[in-house]
């Protein structure tokens, strides 16, 4: 089975880091094939940034494409630009603090997470991506949550002060993702 996902937002929102954390964790903790493909303009902050992660138990052909199973969107601009890539039956995760849910797609599942607001409440807007990663893992189960957490902790090995905040952010996201999954299954 092949899972195609895309993360899109603006530079500085941690879009690339989120994709890389996921892909790296899949590489180091499973036998699956995985690709991470970044795409961005020349800007470090403020421009559009997006990346593709493909996870498969077979050889991966195209590392990017026009048919995404899942999409994480962090700003409005990216939603307008990329929503057409999300397949019918796909799942859209939006940062609902700043992104409005699309009105013209009743063929997809939308998971709304006020991630920017949550990040600010936790104490740093920088953990926006870790919250979204938690939601994504909690909802999709694309990777075991413990393995994902290990990946995050490994990344932070050189910055131990940041660990508690990121652990909290991941746990909060995970909780929301799982709750959304449960309610979608009982619906």
């Amino acid at each position: 089975m092949e899972r195609n996902m895309m993360i899109a937002g603006s530079g500085g929102q941690g879009v690339m880091m989120m994709g890389k954390l996921l892909a790296e964790a899949v590489c180091s903790s499973t036998d699956l094939n995985v690709t991470f493909f970044p795409s961005y303009g020349a800007e470090q902050r403020g421009g559009t940034a997006n990346c593709y992660v493909v996870i498969s138990d077979e050889a991966i052909g195209a590392p990017l494409g026009d048919e995404m199973d899942e999409m994480v969107v962090m700003n409005d601009l990216s939603l307008d630009k990329f929503l057409q890539k999300l397949v019918s039956g796909g799942t859209l995760f939006i940062n609902s603090t700043i992104v409005k849910a699309p009105e013209d797609r009743d063929d997809i599942t939308v998971i709304e997470v006020p991630a920017t607001q949550m990040a600010l409440e936790l104490g740093s807007p920088k953990v926006l991506n870790i919250i979204m990663l938690g939601v994504y893992i909690g909802y999709t189960g694309a990777l075991d949550e413990q393995l994902m957490l290990q990946g995050i902790l490994q990344k932070l090995a050189g910055k131990p002060k940041l660990i508690p905040l990121n652990e909290k952010a991941f746990a909060r996201g995970l909780e929301i993702g799982k709750a959304c999954r449960q309610s979608s299954e009982t619906r």
Binding site: V34, F37, G61, A62
Partner: protein, 365 residues
């Protein structure tokens, strides 16, 4: 679970593979989308006693590699498209003087300064005219990061075997994508030294003029007879590469439509081919892994009473690899194309649509 898998970016994996193969000198000049190659070398080479130089230009850096490789040191440079054009003089000199160096083109949109996005518009330059004088090189076209690693590692051995430059022809997707790779073993310092010593006969190592013959690095001379002989010797070397062809094929035994592409386009096209074959469609696939030498024989062996079309998939307009396919196919079937250029990336859906059109007897354009 494989313990040895590491998650690496194409550019960085290429640089690491080069170091493991024994590369101890790199000179380059920044250009997107290959900056992670020099960046990685800058940190890594000092760790293994090697040297990294950021030259003042492409021309300076390729000539530093010319110099370093003239001493038998495994040396490399890299650039992207328009930067590769600037290096062409130095590469031609290396080819004339028969210097074993390796270089890498992480190509981008062209012509001219073009765009910084992935493209495959340097095929003809890579395989036919990487500089003046009609020289040839072995040109490897990796389709994924693992191949890029394996091919870079081997490239230094081919360069040394032939005393000739070798080119790794990548593109912006291969350079920036991250994938799991298994890295080849690190050659020991003794082994790297031994490989260099093997070149002592001709390399500029400081021969003792009283005991040994002096070495000369000559990219040309006054004698036309001698220069002609150089060309004859070179041509014989190029002809010998037919044994070194590398190619991936799928389903040629029953194919009615054969899809061909190299590098990233080849990889993307493979997705479409596999999908259609799973539906029972008679689609075949040829991906040249070496584009020089080109796998003419694989096309030669196709059953042209059954193959009703070949689909050439490239991120180049006009199509460039198509010229090699035409040489191989010799009008025995029609050749259609599925193309992008300028930094626009191929999608497997487009390739799939083009194959379906051909299977139904239609055309792609």
């Amino acid at each position: 679970m494989s313990e040895k898998r590491v998650f690496m970016k194409g550019c960085e994996a290429i640089a690491e593979a080069a170091v493991r193969s024994g590369c101890r000198f790199f000179a380059g000049y920044p250009i997107t989308p290959q900056n992670e190659i020099p960046e990685y070398f800058a940190r890594r080479l000092p760790e293994v006693g090697g040297h990294f130089v950021q030259g003042e230009s492409e021309l300076a850096s390729v000539n530093m590699v010319y110099g370093a490789a003239s001493t038998g040191t495994r040396a490399m440079t890299s650039s992207s498209s328009c930067g590769i054009s600037l290096k062409s003089e130095g590469v031609s000199f290396c080819a004339s003087a028969r210097i074993p160096m390796v270089y890498c083109n992480i190509s981008r949109g062209g012509p001219g300064i073009g765009s910084i996005q992935p493209s495959q518009q340097d095929y003809a330059q890579a395989t036919r005219a990487s500089g003046n004088g009609g020289f040839r090189m072995m040109v490897f076209a990796p389709g994924d990061v693992q191949e890029a690693v394996d091919m870079t590692y081997a490239a230094f051995d081919y360069a040394q075997r032939d005393r000739n430059p070798v080119l790794i022809l990548g593109d912006g997707v291969l350079g920036t994508i991250m994938e799991p790779v298994v890295l080849p073993p690190m050659r020991s310092e003794e082994e790297v030294r031994r490989l260099k010593d093997e070149l002592r006969d001709w390399a500029l190592v400081g021969h003792d003029p009283k005991k040994e013959e002096r070495a000369f690095i000559l990219p040309g001379g006054w004698s036309t007879k001698r220069q002609e002989q150089t060309c004859i010797n070179n041509a014989a070397l190029y002809d010998s590469w037919v044994k070194d062809v590398q190619v991936e094929t799928i389903g040629l035994e029953d194919a009615e439509v054969v899809v061909t592409g190299y590098g990233i386009s080849g990889r993307i096209a493979r997705s479409a081919v596999n999908k259609l074959r799973a539906e029972g469609a008679r689609v075949g696939y040829i991906r040249p892994k070496t584009v020089s030498p080109f796998p003419y024989e694989t096309f030669e062996k196709l059953d042209y009473s059954r193959v009703k079309a070949i689909l050439d998939v490239e991120m180049s307009i006009p199509a460039l690899m198509k010229l090699d396919v035409e040489l191989a196919v010799k009008d025995r079937t029609r050749i259609e194309t599925c193309l992008h250029a300028g930094g626009e990336i191929m999608s497997s859906r487009e390739v799939e649509a083009a194959i379906r059109a051909l299977l139904q007897g239609g055309r792609t354009e």
